[in-house]
Amino acid sequence: MSRNQLLPRDPSPPPEGPVDDSGCPILHVDMDAFFASVELLDRPELRGTPVIVGAAGARGVVLSATYEARRFGVHSAMPMTRARRVCPQATVIPPSHGKYAEVSRGVMEIFKAITPEVEPIASDEAFLDVGGARRRLGSPAAIARMIRAQVAEQYGITCSVGVASTKFVAKLASRQCKPDGLLVVPAGEVVQFLHPLPVAALWGVGERTEQALVRLGIRTVGDLAQVPVTTLRRELGAVGAHLAALAWGRDERRVVPHAPDKSIGNEETFPHDVDDPETIRRELLRLSERVAARLRAAGHVGRTVSVKLRRSDFTTITRSRTLREATDVAKEIYDTSCELYEAAGLERVRLRLVGVRVENLGPAAAATRQLGLGERETGWREAEQAMDRAARRFGPDAVKPASLVRRPFGPIGP
């Protein structure tokens, strides 16, 4: 079950009447069923029917679903096969990410026209601090209404906005008022708002933490608030103190515009589980090429390479290594990935998914390179930059490693 279904839903959303939003400069804006809503713009005849966006194959997962489909229990990250079983009448649309990125950029532009204090956290959600825009544009609730109107008018899709004094309460509020809603949690009513919620609603409470809390008899945020901080710290470590603060609505996190990328990664689920090391290495190469190209496009270099390997029974291991120097070169990322894969001792083990990620990012402009003895002055990096240029002119598959070229007419030779 998806975690965002844990929230009790208020059957009648509060009216957008005059509420006290004076201490509530933080907005959390979340598009409703984003990918599905964008698809409906091209397929208006499907409005009001269950629609699922996601790859239709046996290994596909639900990326987004309309509220009509959600009523059947479909939710994002659900395996497609299960989604079809619970909602056979749904129309399944394969994702077209370019389209979503375009709408996402447009929506973010609307936010940035309101305040520069915009922190995008996904393609379909962002935090805004409108504290500085009040004089110009009105109260936070008025600004929220304006955003909802502009998004609907310019892109024909709906969004929900939570208005609160802190980021995490704003996020809870937007979730509570979905879809197509607006909820202000006045600064003075945060505790009443929070305490009835299940602990899982809090940011940072994952499955493990939730289990630990339930073992202690803590089920709601209100329960949590009554537990002494020292007990929480003893049971949960540093997270405990953090949760105690959240339970009383205290959240020091500020809206950070342009939160820098912390890592860049790609992963791939195989159509069938794979145990052939050659095939897995080839996939690591493909992912490394993609990650390196993304790093270069973003002007980043990273020092830590990590590899994710998921066995057919879904147990997953992640191995990482920090390099001598930060890189954006696919060859280096690939070589490290292969070493990590070999060192993981999973050769000949059936894998369902592999992923490559580069962490510890910094600006490429400040990167330095220790030259090696007898090394040519131009190397892989220059070769890959040339690939980038070719890709910009001739398309993403213009140049790639020979082992990744698919033979157009089947295997050559016997």
């Binding site: 402009a365 400040a366 330095t368 390179r369 220790q370 003895l373 002055e377």
Partner: protein
């Protein structure tokens, strides 16, 4: 078997032999140290891990022939802690009893028949003063790679051509080369050997300081990696298995023409590099800007802490901005063994050479070159 010996003599010999014992022995018996009293009243202590062997021979006043194998690490700890009085070791069945003054230790013995026999010393190839050898090896081994996944770069290459020995090591980012004279057994003797760097450095250091000569023994000269090298000096001998002799063709990498030369006081240069490097993380550069009579050292970047310091320099040539890994630079400065450091450059992306600045007094090692690859700064 039994022997009686002076505590200091024993402790030193045991410590020297224990150096070569493996920390995590592949077979338990390799953790042992073999002690043998020969008929001619000598005590032989030996250790072996199939790669490196070490043996010390001591003269005895009192001893009964026999052989025993005990835990080397424990014996080393015990002898180090004993009071300064004669030590007696007596084997009694499966136990070895060590007595010194009023202290008495009973050690379990290990099955000596399971202990591998030490490799025979290869034929002698030549001799060199132990102090010269120790300092030359120290100068070169600093540039050897520490990464055991690249074994080819962890070795020190020894090239012998008549009365000249050339030692070289590189970890890809720097290269140290030292030439020295020795006395070969046969004039015109030629050989090449790749010696594990860490072992060679330890051995040379352990044999140095006595002022005696080191005899170098080599099997399968120019061999195929199965060769062995032995070193012996005043009753101590050690052998080491050689590495695959593959090594970069380094001579062509040593630049011969330069566009600039800088002579600096080694001491103040080291101090200044250490100071500015306080703000540089590991593997990040110290930037050097050479202008006329001054070099400006800088480290750190715009959004972090920064440091800058200027030093006088005797500079001749085109102005240059060049950056180095500070650790590599410091290790090179520590190895040149001279009050004046000379840096020679061509361009900011070409290797620079660090040598002793001026021929100092007798025995100065202008035969030492430390090549260091720069760090390229983006744009």
């Amino acid at each position: 078997m039994m022997f009686r010996i002076d505590r200091d003599v024993l402790a030193e010999a045991v410590a020297w032999t224990a150096r070569s014992l493996p920390a995590r022995p592949s077979v338990p018996v390799l953790a042992g140290m073999r002690l043998e009293v020969t008929e001619d009243q000598r005590l032989k202590l030996s250790g072996f891990d199939y790669e490196v062997s070490a043996e010390v021979t001591l003269d005895l006043q009192t001893g009964e022939a026999g052989v025993v194998l005990v835990s080397g690490k424990l014996l080393a700890e015990i002898t180090r802690a004993l009071p300064a009085q004669p030590v007696e070791l007596v084997v009694d069945g499966a136990k070895a009893v060590v007595t010194c003054g009023s202290a008495r230790f009973t050690l379990l013995t290990m099955p000596v028949e399971d202990y591998p026999s030490l490799p025979a010393m290869p034929p002698a190839a030549g001799r060199v003063g132990s102090d010269v050898f120790a300092s030359a090896v120290g100068q070169v081994a600093v540039a050897a790679g520490k990464d055991d996944t690249l074994p080819m770069l962890t070795g020190v290459r020894m090239e012998i051509d008549g009365d000249t020995v050339t030692l070289a090591a590189t970890d890809r980012y720097r290269l140290a080369v030292r030439e020295l004279k020795w006395q070969p057994e046969q004039p015109g003797f030629q050989a090449v050997a790749m010696i594990p760097g860490r072992t060679l450095a330890d051995t040379a250091k352990a044999l140095g300081g006595s002022g005696a000569e080191v005899e170098i023994a080599l099997s399968s000269a120019g061999g195929t990696g199965e060769g062995m090298i032995g070193f012996s000096s005043s009753g101590r001998r050690t052998t080491t298995r050689l590495l695959d002799p593959e090594f970069p063709k380094y001579r062509s990498l040593l630049p011969t023409e330069f566009s600039a030369r800088a002579d600096l006081s080694t001491g103040s240069f080291v101090e200044a590099v250490k100071r500015v490097a306080l703000v540089a993380e590991r593997n990040t550069p110290v930037r050097l800007a050479f202008r006329g009579g001054e070099v400006v050292l800088e480290a750190g970047s715009g959004d972090e802490a920064q440091a800058v310091e200027a030093l006088p320099v005797d500079f001749d040539g085109d102005e240059i901005n060049i950056a180095f890994n500070h650790q590599f630079l410091l290790e090179g400065l520590g190895a040149i063994d001279s009050d004046i450091a000379r840096l020679q450059f061509t361009t900011p992306t070409k290797p620079a050479i660090l040598t002793a600045g001026k021929p100092v007094d007798e025995g100065a090692n202008e035969d030492y070159r430390y090549l260091i690859m720069p760090i390229r700064l983006s744009s």
